[in-house]
């Protein structure tokens, strides 16, 4: 359509061009002048700005270059069963990458009743012709062009931003089915771009759905099917700069589109970190964390997002909302940050955030403790919380999850290691009398200066010993955390073999943790049976965070759906029942995943009608025309 001036090669990442240098360039206004600096297939290039909003934008801003369009994570990383029937994890990005996992197949087949003979492969490529044709608001488009903000209405770009990672979303993609998808994707480059975009959206009555990392598991990114206006996905990925670091106050001012792993890496270069590590941190964005009230694995040291944030700038239809100072704590009425945090894209777009930073920890140590049963483990975690000596992270897996973790053990390299493993197992099960079908494992992560860590470690192990816990080594601990990052990849493997599943979470007072875990697992099993699932499901849980007054509990739930006509529907009903059980047992609607559209059904009973009214009145003032029309939350 258009002839392009050949892009001027600026230098590639591989050539060692430092992010900071590029940032410097950007800061000096490259992108607002004649040229735009961006990346094509990992290469950094500069192109004339007048082209950027046209056909080029598709290549320019496509994450799908490195990520799967119908599954989790990087395209090069996936589990598969090789010709020998052994499980393998491909790629080179993770500790498990390139390894063979000899016990996974047996675990997989015996847990789910699945078989490698029965495959349910996904549609290989995205069929653009099956994607609904975009309904564009021409006036809006015309004005947008004049701002120079890049956009695209290519099917691939739109599909990629039409979903999060709920089971039903991924399942539909694998089948090549597309519902309502955004009509347009825009890539604002800075706060001002967002102000312009929102302004235009208001002027032309266009629906905006902010898009950060796309890791939502609450249907928050789903487009309302009955939305008749043009839906624009506002992708914040280009706003990913650290604008300044304040070493005196230990804060950093960061654009909200930055992805977790980039933020940590860039801060690490200056010797700092935020310490905020949600399980999705490889892909999720700072703005997304703020908008969903995210929680990080190491919150015991660094705090959750609400503890980390010092200042937020958000663009709303009514204008820009922010505080006028960076005081560490204020008493100036209800905290407006709490309207923003958890607003899930219904009020505006978070563009810039000032976040606390910490010097990088000197020393890190993993650890693990085996308990004779889950009850003892929970009692130990409760005691640790009571004494307020929780390590950076402490998590307790139930027996099923412990076995799951074991199935992910890579092939042992020497006879000696396998002998040692055997010895360990003998010691725990025979000598100490732990029942392998009841024992469970807590994984630990300590951080700080070396001496303190060692001292802290001793304190925690001493408490554990009072509850019958035995130290079980660093390796088990580390493997536990690794599971977190690969579990989402494992779901894709399951879906290749008729197994579907998902995780969900809650928070609950200490005295109800055990009852809630037992009842929810049992409810899942019962619901599956009653709904005709032919094989017993996997229903397992772990306690992932401890607080003074309670804990966060995380469930994994999966089943083999062979023989079911509408597995996703059944899956949804079982998950719905499980959530009802959680609420009936004193659990919360969500600890950190958010409400989205998946759970908004329970909002009135969760926060009372008056509470709903409060939120509604804020929405009505801030966004009277429902420009941010994702319809999450309310």
């Amino acid at each position: 359509m258009f002839s392009l001036t050949p892009p001027q090669l600026f230098g590639s990442k591989k050539d060692g061009v430092k992010q900071a240098e590029i940032q410097g360039l950007l800061k000096y206004g490259w992108h607002t002048e004649a040229m735009v600096l961006t990346a094509i297939r990992g290469e950094l290039v500069v192109i004339p700005v007048e082209w950027s909003w046209l056909t080029l934008s598709r290549v320019l801003f496509s994450r799908q270059e490195v990520m799967k369009w119908n599954g989790w994570g990087y395209s090069d990383s996936r589990f598969l069963f090789n010709k020998k029937g052994q499980a393998e994890f491909t790629g080179r990005r993770y500790r498990l990458s390139g390894m063979v996992l000899p016990s996974l197949k047996d675990w997989f087949e015996s847990t789910f009743g699945a078989s490698l003979q029965h495959k349910s492969p996904a549609t290989a490529t995205l069929n653009a012709s099956a994607v609904p044709f975009p309904s564009l608001n021409e006036a809006f488009l015309q004005d947008l062009k004049s701002t120079g903000i890049p956009f695209s209405h290519e099917a691939e770009d739109r599909v990629f931003r039409a979903h999060g990672h709920c089971l039903h979303e991924i399942f539909a993609l694998r089948e090549g089915k597309f519902g309502r998808v955004p009509d347009l994707v825009v890539w604002p480059n800075c706060h001002e771009d967002v102000v312009k975009t929102v302004d235009l959206a208001c002027r032309h009555n266009v629906c905006l759905i902010p898009y950060g990392g796309g890791t939502s598991v609450s249907s928050a990114l789903e487009c309302p099917p009955d939305e008749t206006r043009c839906i624009v996905s506002l992708d914040t990925s280009q706003m990913s700069r650290i604008l300044w670091i304040d070493e005196k106050n230990l804060t950093a001012h960061v654009e909200a589109g930055i992805v977790g792993q980039d933020l940590e890496r860039l801060l690490n270069e200056s010797g700092y970190c935020t310490g905020h590590e949600p399980d999705s941190m490889e892909f999720s964005s700072l703005g997304g964390w703020v908008a969903t009230r995210a929680s990080g694995m190491k919150k015991n040291v660094y705090g959750n997002i609400e503890d980390l944030v010092v200042h937020i700038k958000m663009v709303c239809p009514r204008g820009v909302v922010e505080k006028s100072c960076q005081g560490p704590r204020v008493s100036i009425g209800p905290d407006i940050h709490h309207f923003i945090m958890g607003s899930e894209g219904t009020l505006g777009v978070v563009t810039e955030v000032t976040i606390k930073i910490r010097p990088m920890p000197e020393y890190q140590k993993y650890g693990s403790v085996v308990f004779p049963n889950f009850e003892q483990g929970v009692a130990c975690l409760r005691e640790v919380a009571k004494q307020r000596c929780a390590p950076a992270s402490i998590r307790l897996m139930d027996n099923a999850q412990f076995q799951f973790g074991h199935a992910l053990k890579p092939q042992v390299s020497s006879i000696f290691t396998s002998f040692l493993d055997g010895l360990k197992k003998f010691y725990i099960t025979k000598f100490k009398g732990f029942d392998p079908h009841h024992l469970c494992v807590a994984t630990l992560l300590f951080e700080g200066d070396r001496e303190r860590v060692l001292q802290h470690e001793k304190q925690v192990y001493d408490i554990a010993a009072k509850f019958g816990g035995l130290a079980a080594g660093e390796d088990n601990g580390q493997r536990g955390y690794m599971l977190t990052f690969v579990i989402a990849y494992l779901r894709d493997l399951g879906m290749d073999y008729y197994v579907i599943g998902e995780s969900f979470e809650t928070s609950v007072p200490w005295d109800r943790v055990l009852d809630l875990c037992r009842n929810v697992k049992e409810r899942i099993v019962r619901e599956c049976r009653e709904r005709g699932v032919q094989f017993p499901p996997l229903a397992t849980c772990r306690v992932t965070q401890t607080y003074d007054a309670g804990a966060c509990v995380y469930f994994y739930f999966a089943f083999n759906y062979r023989g079911l006509a509408d597995p996703v529907n059944i899956y949804g009903r079982v998950e719905h029942a499980a959530r009802e059980e959680i609420l009936a047992n004193g659990g919360s609607l969500s600890h950190h995943h958010g409400v989205g559209k998946l759970r908004k059904h329970w909002m009135p009973e969760s926060i009372s009608d008056v509470g709903i009214g409060m939120l509604k009145s804020v929405k009505e003032y801030v966004d009277p025309d429902n420009i941010f029309g994702s319809r999450n939350l309310l």
Binding site: R512, D515, L516, E522, R523, A584, G586, E605
Partner: protein, 612 residues
Amino acid sequence: MASNTLYSPRDPALKKRDDFEDILEERRSSSDLRYALRCYVPVVYKGIAPCKPGVLKTAVLQSDRLRHVVAEMSKETGESADVIREEASGILEEMAHRLRLGTVRFFAYSLSKAFKALFQRVRVNEDGIQRLQQSIQEHPVVLLPSHRSYMDFLIMSYILYTYDLSLPVIAAGMDFLGMKIVGEMLRMSGAFFIRRSFGGDKLYWAVFSEYVKTMLRNGYAPIEFFLEGTRSRTCKSLTPKLGLLNIVMEPFFKGEVFDVSLVPISISYERVLEEALYARELLGVPKPKESTSGLLKARKILSEDYGSIHVYFGHPVSLRSLAQGRINRSQYNLLPRHIPRRPSQETQAFVNETAYRLVRLQEENMVLRPWVLVAALLLQNPDGVDMERLVEQTSWLRGLAVSFGAFLDWPDYVSASKAVASSLALHTGLVRTEGGRAQLAMEPKEPGSPEEDLFDRAASVLSCASYRNQILHVFLRPALLGMAMQMAEASRKDDIYSCFSFLRDVFSNEFILCPGGTVQDFDEACYMLTKCAAVHVQKQEVVATEKGQRILSFLTSLFQPFLKGYQVGPAPFLELVDYPRELTCYEALSSDVQKNALAALLRMKVVRKLKV
């Protein structure tokens, strides 16, 4: 697996029921001693090893609930917490069971001997046993037998022992502890003892409820208690008491257990051991105090034939399924669970309704002998009836009862004349057959004072009535409709409904009529009577058919004694002097009827209680 279908009001006659096996048969052919000493390894709840009674007591005394109540009472009364705790420990000591296998084996041996002497057969539905076994492994189980006799809980434990099921812990009245040795032996076979009334005693309530809940929560053993609260002296079910049912439901409401299986059990006796005693009790002779010597004196009953016992284990009812959509469990989220609080109105209504449903389930699976039909007919013919006519009527009544869903133990190959004859033979004390006529035995053997004669006559009428009562639940709803039609004196459906509703209200202390179920009961009654072509139900009208006259007049006269009893109220005695042959009025002498009538009048605010 527990089912959530309680009963279907539509077509009760189609209800499918299990077959019975006689468990005494094997006892008659093999060694009782070996049976008592055999290896006994019951299945348990989710593989949990039952803890020792001592551990259980400690758990109760150290529970949050009890600690909370002790601290509160100490604050209120100024008494030191230690003293109160000591008191609690004393209560628990008095209450708790001490299950010992040795004692169980002793009972297994001696009961085998006793049962073989007393009964022809003890018949059990084995399918029900299998369902129970399944339930015990899945969820905590609550056994809810009907209560007609002291034998009930002995029989229950005996059957569970026979089938290698966990022995239940049984809530028993404190009266049994009055029996030396025997009381303690019952304790060692799993009974725990509760005071009959402890209204305001907070500590007692806390110890008691925590004790029961602790056993339920950790699946220690099935918990057994009688919904009716006490033995029914009249052989018709008593309206349920809710205290214990509330307690066993609470752990589910509070999420402490996933579910609770409620198992209704119907124990039907061909002849109740306490038959003669009951009639006297109803006429005002006080209940003999439970005592060991009394028990030994009662040995003479061993020489009599008490026919068969049928024990029907109903389908376990899942409390979770019942509560689905009725109880919002999150109402318990905002208060620590050990702090006691009054159940909400919706909860109370739910517990009440469930209790009624469970008693109805017990009623439905009560096995009825042909004699019950004969007794009902004899009571309607005080002057006696020709054998031929009696056989014909019994046969007719059989058809009607079966079509209304009665669980009749009357195999097809037994002819009506045979069934009537053998019924009369087993109950010679109550009927006289002379010259081809059968008549209630009313005339005293040796004439005494008029009062004594009257007493004897009333006693035999009440004994006979206790058999007829067994079948009332089958006819209750259609009969109420029949009576309502008579009362309304018009065929407008609305009028009949309001009469029906009134009668139902009046009799709700007398029969098992769940509050709030009027519409459903009315529909059920219409359906049943339409089915046997006794009435035509149209949009606006309910009309009796030609053929229906016989059915309707039978039904109304079946319930006549109660109507009469409620009408005459406090003055039946006078009437009896004038009309000594008016049979229905003898029943008005029953203290049970009087008590219920008074309760109904109080409830309906017709009379008021004044403290004297």
